[in-house]
């Protein structure tokens, strides 16, 4: 009840603010951006739109807001945060791809809603949803199919995260070989691209992938 009142007043104040255009604000220089605050939708709305419970949303928001007091993450921040989990390698490319995948409205920053929608699909969605999301991540130009170049970029970014000191030594052709492997497995009609149907079909046939998709059930 208390939270409901707070949410109510939040949405009221947002209406009072008038047309709060986050886009124009983000174009201002950096000082402006840091004082501008983006408030997310009310918790009820988020609860309806995602599959998280209130408590989970609370925990997520606290963590989110702590790291980004202004309420949005820009790509630099995003990369910094992600790189803290991979001290040995260079995770900036993969973080860039992730950022593109999370930033669904393509406005250059990830707000809490984007964040939570993405997480909801990955952590609470069906296996098909998750595969769709992964496909979306790989498809860099969002044209509905994954080419070898796109896959190579993704693969390189993953391998970059390992860094230099690995066992066995990291060869330069490792990503390329891996991509060949992948295409052999996924590309049914051997036309050089992997469409969404081929992708989902092949993944569903693969035991390992199905099993690993289940990992995400218990993340939160």
């Amino acid at each position: 009840m208390k939270t409901k009142n707070r949410d109510q007043s939040l949405s009221d104040s947002r209406e009072l603010d008038g047309s709060y255009d986050q886009l124009t604000d983000s174009i201002e220089d950096d000082f402006e951006l840091s004082t501008v605050c983006h408030r997310p939708e009310s918790m009820d709305k988020l609860q309806d739109q995602t599959k998280f419970t209130k408590k989970e949303l609370q925990v997520l928001y606290r963590g989110f807001k702590n790291e980004c007091p202004s309420g949005v993450v820009n790509e630099e921040n995003f990369k910094t945060i992600y790189s803290q989990f991979f001290p040995q390698g260079d995770s900036s490319m993969y973080a860039h791809f992730l950022f593109e995948a999370f930033d669904t409205d393509k406005n250059g920053s990830v707000s809490f809603e984007d964040f939570v929608f993405g997480l909801s699909i990955i952590l609470r969605g069906t296996i098909n949803d998750r595969l769709n999301w992964a496909f979306n991540l790989y498809d860099l130009n969002k044209d509905g199919c994954i080419t070898k170049e796109e896959m190579l970029d993704i693969m390189k970014s993953i391998y970059d995260m390992m860094g230099k000191c690995t066992y066995p030594n990291m060869q330069d052709e490792a990503p390329r070989e891996h991509v060949e492997n992948f295409f052999q497995k996924m590309d049914r009609n051997k036309d050089g691209v992997v469409t969404i149907e081929e992708f989902i079909e092949s993944c569903q046939k693969d035991e390992n992938i199905m099993q690993s998709m289940q990992l995400f059930d218990n993340v939160i």
């Binding site: 408590k55 925990v59 997520l60 606290r62 963590g63 989110f64 702590n66 790291e67 945060i81 992600y82 803290q84 989990f85 991979f86 001290p87 040995q88 993969y94 791809f97 992730l98 964040f115 993405g118 997480l119 990955i122 952590l123 595969l131 999301w133 992964a134 991540l137 790989y138 896959m151 993704i154 693969m155 993953i158 391998y159 995260m161 390992m162 860094g163 230099k164 000191c165 690995t166 066992y167 066995p168 030594n169 990291m170 490792a174 891996h178 492997n181 992948f182 992708f199 993944c203 035991e207 390992n208 992938i209 099993q211 690993s212 998709m213 990992l215 995400f216 218990n218 993340v219 939160i220």
Partner: protein, 661 residues
């Protein structure tokens, strides 16, 4: 892993991108055994209550509040954690957990603050940049003050010092004994006498028979010569004694003071050696000039003189700038004056170098008047020259002066040199904390294997122990890194192992070392007498290398595949013959380094399994931290110490080097 632990679920979710491309199955995720909801905990610090979420504190599991160490302070009756510390300092510490940045409050005493940090297990190196300068300055001031106090009390005579050491101490600190004091004053006296004789030698005293003024030196040749000889003998004796007493002769001979000593006495000897040759008498006269350098010997007697010398050295850049700008100005004005005065007759400005003299005299506002411009243009430019001279000289001088005053007041030592060391040390420590996390992962990976094993065969108690020792957050993080390894079919190793792997593959192609079948295999049975002991302790079944069918490596963790006899022989040879490429490692073996020293909890880490029981000592850091392995478990009893190696596990899970201390 810093304050972004709240984003760990996100990072784990982002791993969805790896799943479809991975070729093998992913490892099992750690289960959250304690479905503990996020709760508020109360920290009572000397009566002031602070409240925060449990997960906030869990962000830094290697500090007191983030680890299970805080359970020691849990008060059952009031259900809160009570700390008997200063609540004001605690504020900044708690803010560190909340914001991830540690700030140093200015009103706080530096040593009190340090103590608080040490108590709560936080390293000062992570103080944010906003406060770090201040912190370091205060700390250095404090250290200098303490050191000053200490130096005054330093002159206690140690019971057993050799004659040589006593002499050296006597030379360095004249206050230590009366003999030293006497020596000090005697040398000072003779320096003064020597300088005085040099000066008086040239004073004209009385007339000789030729009605000509002669300097005293020529009148009383013998007397002056005897004086000179006496002084030089004293100086020589002093120099030789110092040379004898110096702890490091080479170092002493290179020091400035000893060079001055040598320069002071050399002219005399050269003069003795040289004959009364006409050709070299000119050079001989020049040599006598060097006798004036004896006056610099006074700097041993005067601290202020030394400081002055040091200041000049440290202001070298300002002095250089002064010189440079003066030179530029001199050249410009000399040229101008020369061409301006070219026209006038019988001018003294015969060439540009001749005009240099005029320019210098004018710019420094000396104005001797031996050269004056006569033309109007010359006079105009001359006045401009003198005005600009004032400016050019006035500019760098205050800088030098302030430098001197600062240095003098601080009674400085080699400040810059120390700053560099500190900076290096700071960076090293931060790097260690960072690699500590990697090493933690690598080690935990091995214990992760054991974890799975235990779930199959182990007892309940063991499993409890294992699962408690690594926090949920950490296990989830490690699982994430593990998944990445599986996806790319490569493994994380630390720099050490990486270098050595490279070294081995290089060496393998060149040599075929007989002791070990293959050097990597050899490693797993390396220098160890400890191996024998290790075998004794495997009461448990030899840990199978966890269920990882997808694992591509041919080696099994700590699994000597060979029979004991072969291993023993391998050990034997290893012990006796430290192969060349092993020497680097054997020296490293000496330092069973706790790479994650900052992580105090390493002490209780994982692997109750004895066979692996390498002490939490992780691989030694490349930057050579020294320290006794103080967190080692006692080595298993019967270890005949041959070479003194130490128990230690390499980070690569498949290459276990075990050596016994």
């Amino acid at each position: 892993m810093a304050g972004v632990s709240a984003w760990l679920p996100f990072a784990r979710a982002a791993a969805i991108g790896w799943m479809p491309v991975a070729n093998g199955p992913m490892p099992v995720a750690p289960r959250d055994h304690s479905k503990r909801k996020d709760e508020l905990i109360v920290l009572n610090v000397s009566g002031r209550r602070f409240q925060t979420w449990r997960t906030t504190l869990d962000r830094y599991p290697d500090s007191l509040l983030g680890s299970s160490e805080k359970e020691f302070f849990f008060n059952e009756e009031t259900k809160e954690y009570f700390f008997d510390r200063d609540p004001d300092s605690f504020r900044s510490i708690l803010n560190f957990y909340r914001t991830g940045k540690l700030h140093y409050p200015r009103y706080e005493c530096i040593s009190a603050y340090d103590e608080e940090l040490a108590f709560f297990g936080i390293i000062p190196e992570i103080i944010g940049d906003c406060c770090y300068e201040e912190y370091k300055d205060r700390k250095r001031e404090n250290a200098e003050r303490l050191q000053d106090d200490q130096e005054e009390n330093k002159d206690l005579k140690l019971p057993n010092m050799t004659a040589r050491e006593t002499m050296w101490r006597a030379f360095e600190n004249p206050h230590t004994s009366t003999m030293a004091l006497v020596f000090y004053y005697v040398t000072g006296f003779f320096i003064a006498i020597s300088v005085l004789t040099n000066v008086v030698e040239t004073v004209p005293c009385g007339t000789s028979t030729h009605q000509k003024e002669v300097p005293c030196g020529e009148r009383f040749t013998v007397a002056f010569f005897c004086m000179d000889t006496a002084c030089v003998m004293i100086f020589t004796v002093e120099y030789l004694m110092r040379l004898f007493a110096a702890p490091s002769r080479y170092h002493f001979m290179r020091s400035v003071m000893s060079i001055i000593d040598v320069v002071a006495i050399l002219p005399y000897y050269i003069g003795l050696v040289m004959t009364d040759n006409e050709d070299v008498s000119g050079a001989f006269v020049t040599l006598r000039v060097f006798r004036v350098f004896r006056i610099f010997k006074f700097s041993r007697h005067s601290q202020g003189l030394r400081i002055l010398g040091y200041t000049l050295k440290s202001c070298a850049s300002e002095l250089g700038f002064l010189l440079f700008s003066l030179t530029m100005a001199i050249i410009i004005f000399a040229t101008v004056m020369f061409y301006a005065e070219k026209g006038s007759s019988s001018t003294k400005f015969t060439s540009i170098p001749a005009s240099f003299w005029y320019t210098i005299v004018t710019m420094t506002t000396l104005g001797y008047g031996d050269m004056v411009p006569k033309t109007i243009a010359g006079k105009i430019f001359g006045s401009i020259c003198s005005l600009s001279g004032v400016l050019v000289i006035a500019l760098p001088v205050p800088v030098i002066v302030s430098n001197f005053s600062r240095i003098y007041h601080q009674n400085q030592r080699a400040d810059k040199r120390r700053a560099q060391k500190v900076q290096k040390a700071r960076l090293a420590r931060i790097r260690i904390a960072k690699t500590g996390s990697t090493n933690a992962f690598l080690q935990s990976k091995r214990s992760g294997l054991l974890d799975e094993l235990l779930e199959l065969t182990g007892t309940e108690a063991d499993e409890q122990k294992l699962s408690k020792s690594v926090s949920l957050l950490e296990s989830q993080h490690y699982h994430l890194l593990y998944c990445l390894e599986k996806t790319t079919a490569h493994e994380f190793v630390d720099e050490q192992a990486f270098e050595q792997n490279n070294l081995e593959t290089a060496l393998q192609s060149y040599t075929s070392p007989s002791p070990s079948p293959s050097s990597s295999h050899g490693e797993s049975t390396s220098t160890c007498c400890g191996c024998r002991a290790r075998r004794k302790n495997t009461a448990l079944p030899e840990p199978e290398p966890g269920p990882s069918p997808g694992s591509q490596s041919p080696f099994r963790p700590h699994h000597p595949q060979r029979g004991p006899l072969q291993e023993l022989s391998a050990i034997h040879i290893q012990c006796v013959d430290p192969a060349s490429h092993k020497t680097s490692r054997s020296s490293l073996n000496q330092k069973a380094e706790d790479g994650g020293r900052v992580n105090c909890r390493r002490g209780q880490v994982t692997t109750a399994i004895i066979s692996l029981q390498a002490p939490p000592a992780l691989t030694p850091e490349g930057d050579g931290l020294h320290g006794a392995p103080h967190q080692r478990r006692p080595p298993p009893p019967p270890i005949p110490p041959q070479a003194p190696p130490s128990i230690q596990t390499m980070s690569s899970s498949h290459i276990v080097k075990v050596s016994a201390l």
